[in-house]
């Protein structure tokens, strides 16, 4: 039955101010029911207060074979990391 159902990726925001994080996926006949299933599967233990579902077929993913070309060049540019600054505690989560 679920063979012809689409796959939807599920994102949850755990609290206001933070961003949605990918938590898993569900199969569903449409996005509306995907949202219902996501609620049932992924928020049983108060994990979040906002849900997104996205049809997996609508996600364009980078090609793992191109990993070196895409991500390799960043490896030796440590000056891009703000690790030389001390962040005051008052700033909180960035």
């Amino acid at each position: 039955m679920a063979d012809d159902w689409d796959l939807y990726e599920v994102f949850i925001r755990s609290k206001r101010g933070s961003s949605h994080k990918h938590v898993g996926s569900v199969h569903a006949v449409d996005s509306r029911l995907a949202l219902e299933s996501a609620r049932d599967l992924y928020t049983r233990r108060s994990e979040g207060e906002s849900l997104w579902v996205v049809a997996a077929k609508d996600i364009l993913a980078s090609d793992p074979l191109e990993g070196d070309a895409l991500f390799g060049p960043a490896a030796d540019k440590i000056y891009r990391h703000p690790t030389f600054y001390e962040i005051p505690d008052e700033v909180g989560k960035m």
């Binding site: 039955m1 679920a2 159902w5 569900v26 199969h27 569903a28 006949v29 449409d30 509306r32 029911l33 219902e36 299933s37 609620r39 049932d40 599967l41 049983r44």
Partner: protein, 261 residues
Amino acid sequence: MGCIYQTEENPHFQYVLGLADDALILGQRWGEWLSKGPTLELDIAASNLALDLIGQANLLLEHAAELEGKGHTADDLAYLRDAHDFRNHWLVEQPNDDWGVTTARMLVFSLYQYCRYEALVKSSDAHLADIVAKALKEVSYHRRFAAEWTIRLGQGTEESNQRIQRGFDMLWRFVPELFETVCWEQTLADDGIAVASGTLQDAWEAEVTLILTQANLSVPKGDAHQFGSRHDGHHTEHLGTLLCELQFLQRSYPTASGAVW
């Protein structure tokens, strides 16, 4: 609708027991889908629905036990009563059959339960009002779940349409019982404790008709039914087999004899 059953011992207790038994028995029916759901997603949805309902039943049975005043616990009421002491509607004890029947039943019942709880939030029984206020959020999700699935199945394939229509056709004869108002219930309603079930019918009918129409389904005709039976302890044969499973462990290994589960 005429008023039947003139007297009832401790009507307040009977009323809360009726609410509790509806939740308990329907919760058990949903639990039966566990590991047998049409998909993994729906299997988990089914157990969520079961847990919501059994949670409601637990709170309502605790309250009922207090109102009864005979020293029983919620567990005693759930596990040690026989079928003729159950006060649930016949609708909720009917077998799950297939997903179409289960969904049709959930739509019929969750819309009804929502109307009932919504009215009971204003009950002068403050404990009951607290319980239903919490339960209302759950039932609000249940009716949404049932409505979405009724529409998907109704608008789906020829087979899914036939199956969900069959569900409504099969169960429609249990609908009138939901709206019968027995005399003692009317008295409780006059006292602000209960809601007279008959007053919920118009709102329920409007909503169910709207959803069935949207789902390309027809509202079943016919009004063959039996009134008042549950108050006399009459049930369909299905309640007995359901209780066998529900009560087996407590009956075979009673905690009273020292058994620890």
